[in-house]
Symmetry: C2
Subunit: 109 residues, 2 copies
DNA sequence: TTTATTGATTGCAATATTACGATTAATATT
DNA sequence: AATATTAATCGTAATATTGCAATCAATAAA
C-alpha cells in the first residue's frame, strides 16, 4: 500500500534503503555534486544552475538535511549548504559494505 | 507531478539515481544480500525467508532484473536468481565514483 | 519604517510505488 | 490426461513522491 514494511527488515537493511532512497533522484544527486564542487552552496544559486523551481530545490535540500548528509549555514538572507563530512563518511561505510560484498562466492548461475 | 524531470540532468546523474532508487527499498536490499550469501536464490525460498507475499517478491525481483543487477535461471518449475557479476561491477564503479568524491575541498561551512 | 531579497512552508495536482488477492502460464508428477 | 507446484501477471487499494504557484518569515537595504 505504497509504504514499505520496514518492520520485517533489520536496521542495517533499512538504513541502506534510506540512504539509497535519497540518492534515488537526479536533482539530489546534482545538488550533492554541486556541493562537492563548491560551485554553488547557496540555495538560490542551486535553483539557477539546476533549473527546478525554488520550492522544489528547497524540498530536496530539506530531505538531504533531514538525513544529516548536508548542513545549512544562514548568512544574512541566504543559506549556504555544505556536505556534513562526518555523516557523509559514516554513510559511505554503510553503502560500501553493501555494494562491495564478496562476489566470488557467486557460482550458482 | 510525481515524475522526475530527468531531461534536465545528465546521463551520469540519471544513472546514479536509477541505481540508487532500486536500492531504496529494504526488500530489494534483503534479496540482494540473500543472493550474495547464496542462502536462497530460488524465488519461493526468498518469499519464505523475507516474509512478503510471492507477487511482491516477484515484482522486486523483476525490478532488479530490469536493471541487469540479477539474472534468473529457470530450473523446472522454479527459478534460480543470481547476481549478474559483470553488471554489478559496472554499477559499483558508478556508485563508488559518486560516493567517494573528494571531501577535503569542503571548507565553506 | 518601508521595501527588497531570500528561502521555507503550504496546498494541491499528477504520477509512482508498495503490497497482495486472484488468476494465469509453464513445467513436473501421478 | 489430470493434478500439483512454482512463479509471473493483472487489477486494485493505500500511500508516497515530485513539482510548483502562492504565501509566509526573516533579514538586509533604502
Amino acid at each position: 500500500m505504497g509504504l514499505a514494511k520496514t518492520e520485517i527488515f533489520n536496521d542495517q537493511q533499512n538504513k541502506i534503503a534510506t540512504y539509497a532512497k535519497v540518492f534515488g533522484h537526479p536533482a539530489r544527486v546534482s545538488i550533492l555534486q554541486h556541493l562537492f564542487e563548491l560551485n554553488s552552496c547557496v540555495c538560490g544559486d542551486l535553483v539557477n544552475e539546476i533549473g527546478l523551481a525554488q520550492p522544489t530545490i528547497s524540498q530536496h535540500l530539506k530531505e538531504l538535511k533531514l538525513l544529516g548528509l548536508i548542513k545549512g549555514n544562514v548568512e544574512g538572507t541566504s543559506v549556504c549548504y555544505c556536505i556534513d563530512i562526518e555523516n557523509w563518511t559514516k554513510m559511505k561505510e554503510v553503502m560500501f559494505q553493501f555494494l562491495d560484498q564478496d562476489i566470488t562466492k557467486n557460482t550458482c548461475c
